[in-house]
């Protein structure tokens, strides 16, 4: 799952650094992800994992790192992500 998340971040996150250089718990906003880019990341995640983030999850903290995103996706898919 983390590899897919990283691929989406690489394409849509507009990070200032190479996503490969980031740890799973590195702060993506500190790495340059803007709110606008984070919306595109959310859309791509919803498309790829076939989920919908409920509004309560649409806040900064949920998308701040690879592991935070993975935790949110796991919650939504009940751990059965592709």
């Amino acid at each position: 799952m983390n590899d897919q998340i990283r691929a989406i971040l690489k394409e849509h996150g507009r990070l200032a650094v190479d996503v490969a250089s980031l740890k799973d718990d590195s702060d993506l906003y500190e790495a340059g992800m803007t709110s606008h880019a984070s919306v595109n990341v959310m859309l791509a995640l919803e498309g790829t994992f076939d989920v919908e983030f409920p509004d309560r999850m649409l806040r900064r903290g949920v998308f701040e790192s690879v592991s935070a995103i993975a935790a949110a996706l796991t919650e939504l898919t009940g751990g059965s992500a592709p």
């Binding site: 200032a16 906003y29 500190e30 509004d55 309560r56 806040r59 900064r60 903290g61």
Partner: protein
């Protein structure tokens, strides 16, 4: 009403007795409303938001909003200066009180009543608050240097201290920002242009080159992103909207006076202007309800220790705040324009008792301070993921 409403009365009186007296000269000469600010300082209103146990008035957002509206009825510039100062105070109180430096600063705020400006906008970036070019340069001795080329600093020349955002380090990306207070004795402000505008002339907001230094303790420990979403945006949009509500209320009051005068001249017939007044009154009520509703929700979330922080940083809340800003900034212009149509030539003449020219010019600033088109663009993007569930 609560005990605190006495504070609103004090500010309303300053509005009526001080701000109103000088509003025309402040506007005509594009000068800082120093009389009003002095009166507010004397009444210890620069620390209105500071909790009582720390020596302040212990006001909440709703009371402060009512103060902004009360001042806005008499002098929009005074009200906007007051609002902007308190957006900064609210940021310190919510995000920096774990830091010794700011505990001391708040004591000073209560005692000396300094006026805090913000240096949000930057040349090459404009009003995009969450992006910075300038960066903090920290040396080995716990001190920093920070220069910012500001496209505008409201009342920069009259402020005692300045709070603003910058990149964390010269290597940081544009949105990795810190928030820092710099003290006037430790900064040099070089004015780079004039402030000769259509309205809001008394806010005195020309461009400045800001060169500052200080100790690293002045840097907020929490990232600016949190300060922006949890405090700066909600406080700005609620307080600004209340200033605009004050402007709209004042213009409608003038239109009402005009219509009553017409009615008295010909008892038995309802003047045709009364119909338009009825329309303006309905618009004003809609605006007031919207402003008050969002302010109540904001205040509730800010005091909700369990869910508040998450809710304030959510996309749904950001959308609601942005909607408040665009709608109230548009309504103020429509309402004042109605007042002008009602008062006719008497509203158009600057020396008339029902003049609304200043109100109309001031009202037009509302759509521009953080441009509405930029806000709509942000909302459009957020709506792509928001479900309203």
């Amino acid at each position: 009403m609560s005990e605190g409403s006495g504070n609103v009365d004090v500010v309303a009186r300053i509005g009526k007795e001080v701000a109103a007296q000088h509003a025309d000269s402040v506007d005509r000469e594009a000068r800082f409303p120093s009389e009003t600010v002095e009166a507010l300082k004397k009444a210890k209103m620069m620390s209105a938001l500071v909790p009582k146990e720390l020596g302040g008035h212990g006001c909440g957002m709703i009371e402060l909003a009512a103060m902004c509206e009360a001042l806005g009825q008499h002098c929009s510039s005074s009200a906007m200066v007051f609002a902007m100062h308190h957006i900064q105070v609210a940021s310190i109180l919510r995000h920096a009180m774990k830091q010794t430096y700011y505990q001391k600063y708040v004591e000073e705020l209560v005692e000396k009543q300094p006026l805090i400006a913000s240096a949000t906008s930057e040349v090459g970036i404009g009003g995009e608050m969450r992006t910075s070019k300038c960066a903090v340069m920290v040396d080995g001795n716990g001190r920093f240097k920070l220069d910012k080329d500001c496209s505008t600093i409201s009342y920069g020349a009259h402020a005692d201290d300045i709070l603003f955002q910058a990149r964390r380090t010269p290597e940081s990306p544009a949105n990795d920002q810190i928030f820092v207070l710099v003290r006037k004795p430790e900064c040099t402000l070089t004015q780079k242009g004039a402030w000769d505008t259509l309205g809001m002339r008394g806010t005195c907001s020309p461009p400045f080159m800001l060169e500052s230094q200080g100790v690293v303790d002045q840097i907020f420990e929490v990232p600016f992103a949190d300060v922006a979403s949890e405090t700066q945006v909600p406080f700005s949009h609620v307080l600004w909207s209340n200033v605009w509500l004050g402007i709209a209320t004042a213009a409608v009051a003038r239109a009402r006076a005009f219509v009553r005068q017409q009615a008295r001249a010909k008892p038995g017939t309802t003047p045709p202007t009364a119909l338009r007044l009825a329309e303006a009154s309905s618009m004003l009520q809609t605006m007031r309800t919207n402003v008050h509703d969002v302010a109540s929700e904001c205040e509730r979330l800010m005091h909700d220790e369990k869910e508040g922080t998450a809710a304030l940083s959510s996309i749904g809340f950001a959308l609601k705040m942005n909607n408040l800003k665009v709608s109230s900034s548009q309504m103020v212009v429509q309402i004042v324009n109605h007042a002008l149509l009602i008062c006719g030539i008497m509203g158009y003449k600057n020396d008339s008792k029902v003049a609304v020219g200043r109100h109309l010019r001031d009202a037009h600033s509302a759509a521009l301070m953080v441009g509405n088109d930029r806000i709509y663009a942000t909302n459009a993007s957020m709506l792509l993921v928001l479900k309203d569930d």
